[in-house]
């Protein structure tokens, strides 16, 4: 039996190590939108956090929406820990109780010492969600195919001076806002007008004027491709995708920032996450001043912390939605309006499309 002793000791040791490491190092599943965006998060958040804590991040992709989260919560089998969602979904999921409320006062102060609550831009902290980035829906055109240069949102709806097919996202969001802005409604009044039945009719009437010229897109990758193929000459798109097409793929596109509709992406935790403490640690880490500034190295989405702005690389600054030169006539997506009216307006929008 003596010969067995060293072996069994070694085995026990191995088990002990195994338990110890599994006790201290945890794996969490972080879900985001894929592509260049997830890559920027892996570089700016996941890798440094893994290095710091020894924990592991499993990155998964999804296509937005709360369907999977709801299904997991209802089935009582939550496998996702942190999910990158749009603001309206963050609010809605919180209202429906399928997201964990977050202890926001534990968020670290900004690098300049300002309290977290003051450091985050207004509206980017909510009961169940912590903001990360500001992104924008803008429109862009192909410089080689346009005789005149569009400068304002009105030009998107002007098929006489700017002929050609247009690309728009197949959703009422942004499109209805833009239709009103192009019809002469002041940016500040857009949601007020849209809250009235007359306003909605007015927006659809304006969309009617270009309906025949529109090619509708659904995935973020489509509009830069459609512009590149010459399928459309002008199209709405996410500013990060356009940045990629213009700066990386050197496409002859130009962005019109007038009337940009900006929105934020936030971290949420599905109700019943098994790794809540670790996940919350990850969220706190990934939304500190440095990490948010780092992310802007990789993609042209703006940080939601004010203290991160000065740390963003100089060469990236002009591409940020929040850069002063771009932020002249912005409209913040009104999540409350869309949480209330999204169902009905989408229904009407779909009926309008099919009609």
């Amino acid at each position: 039996m003596k010969t067995f002793k060293p072996l069994s000791v070694a085995l026990v040791g191995l088990f002990a190590v195994g338990f110890a490491s599994s006790a201290s190092a945890e794996a969490i599943t972080v879900v985001s939108w894929g592509g260049a965006y997830t890559k920027s998060q892996i570089n700016a958040y996941h890798k440094p956090w893994e290095a710091k804590t020894g924990n592991k991040v499993n990155s998964e992709d999804y296509n937005g929406g709360l369907a999977e989260v709801r299904a997991q919560v209802e089935a009582g089998n939550v496998t996702w820990d942190a999910v990158d969602v749009e603001l309206s979904d963050a609010i809605r999921g919180c209202d429906e109780g399928i997201l964990e409320p977050l202890p926001l006062d534990e968020l670290p102060a900004g690098a300049d010492g300002s309290k977290a609550a003051d450091d985050f831009i207004g509206g980017t902290l909510t009961e169940c969600a912590v903001g990360e980035i500001v992104w924008s829906t803008v429109f862009a055109f192909d410089k080689t195919k346009m005789k005149k240069t569009p400068t304002s949102i009105k030009d998107l709806f002007d098929t006489k001076n700017f002929p050609g097919k247009r690309g728009l996202r197949k959703t009422p969001r942004v499109n209805l806002e833009w239709a009103l802005m192009a019809d002469g409604v002041a940016t500040a009044d857009v949601y007020k007008v849209l809250s009235t039945p007359e306003g909605v009719n007015r927006a659809f009437a304006k969309l009617d004027t270009i309906k025949g010229e529109v090619i509708w897109w659904e995935a973020g990758a489509q509009p830069p491709q459609m512009l590149a193929d010459g399928e459309v000459v002008i199209s709405s798109a996410y500013n990060g995708r356009l940045f990629n097409a213009i700066m990386v793929e050197k496409k002859p596109f130009d962005i019109v920032w007038d009337g940009q509709v900006w929105d934020i992406d936030l971290w949420v935790v599905p109700k019943g996450s098994k790794n809540f403490k670790t996940t919350w640690d990850f969220i706190k880490f990934s939304t500190d001043t440095q990490r948010l500034a780092d992310q802007a190295k990789f993609i042209s989405y703006g940080p939601v912390r004010k203290s991160s702005f000065p740390k963003v690389q100089k060469k990236m600054q002009p591409h940020m939605p929040t850069a002063p030169v771009n932020f002249k006539n912005p409209l913040q997506n009104d999540y409350e309006f869309w949480a209330d009216n999204g169902d009905e307006l989408t229904e009407r929008f779909n009926a309008w499309l099919a009609g």
């Binding site: 809605r92 193929d229 169902d343 307006l345 099919a354 009609g355």
Partner: protein
Amino acid sequence: MAVVSDGAGMLRTADGVPLKQALARATRVNKIKAFLLVAPLLVFILITFIVPILDMMTRSVSSPEVVDALPKTIAELVKWDGTDLPPEAAFAAMAAEMSDKKNKFYLGKAAARLNFQKSGFRSLFNKSQRKIKRVKQGPFKDAFAKIDKRWAQSATWNIIRNASGRYTDVHYLNAIDMNRDPAGEIAAQPKIKRIYVTLFERTIYVSFGVTILCLILAYPISYLLATLPLKTSNLLMILVLLPFWTSLLVRTTAWIVLLQANGVLNDLFVFFGIVNDENRIRMIYNMTGSLIAMTHILMPFMVLPLYSVMKTISPTYMRAARSLGANPFTAFVRVYMPQTVPGIGAGSILVFILAIGYYITPALVGGQSGQLISNLIEYHMKKSLNWGLAAALGGLLLIGILVLYWLYNRIVGIDKMKFG
């Protein structure tokens, strides 16, 4: 075992056991063995197919959200006659239930459910929850009216009352462009919101078109496959199956590259002067695109059953017909084609059913006129989270397909169907 017949005419084995019983005992073990063999598949189908379908079907008629969140309020509302405003007791119950912190989860679901019925309920509930907590005593009727004037309208309360049943027909009504008005009567949706009937019609008509196109194109291919020498037909079969092994998205994207305004096909047309550069043909982001891409993708489902049936039709039938005096055309129409009917039936039903459920391809190449009902089901499953309506739309599709299947059985006979 010797068989003995007793006086009553019952056959018994030599041991006196009734013959039937002995037989049952002897076959039982085999039956159990056979069942154990299929049990894994049975369980698999039950879990992955039957249960989800039943679950979705249940969702299409159930609406427990409101009554789960506001049981006491509903109890009061049921007593109310529906005119003017509900009694103070209802307001008080609502205030108590909204202030209950543990109830938040259910209130959120109820608000979402009511918001499908009438926009604004979501924010109305949120606002009211926040504010009513601070009101310590009644009358709550005035307190609610102060929070939002909608609480002072009987329509608001009617909507809540109408949505209070555990079971509802509202999803099915919505799915056929109907609704209940505040008084609870069934009425057509306003014109600007009608969409599902149009899309159902379009879906059926597109699926039918795709089926016909597949049949017309697949018939000669299958005939070639079945009659060519093995070496050539194998090559052809690989060509038919090749798209089968390619990802759906890749195939769809390939069609975009081919068909778009500046795509390969249009470039060729311009090059050969068939159309001029300004009038390139629109073949994608419309119905044409949907039809072409879906026909291509579903073609193998038509070719395979046709091929498998044609393969079994001996060439002697055609020879016999020719020798009996029929010219090649008559021989084909009178003798060959009727024998391929089982394949035509199987292929058509397969393609039609698959086409009816297609959504990725129409979403990518269909544009606004190529949207099908499945796109809306996907929207309600993934985006609006109105699973009840999604389930009702799916339920109607399921019923439609079952009717089709029944008709097919009546006209052609399911037993005649051959998938290969």
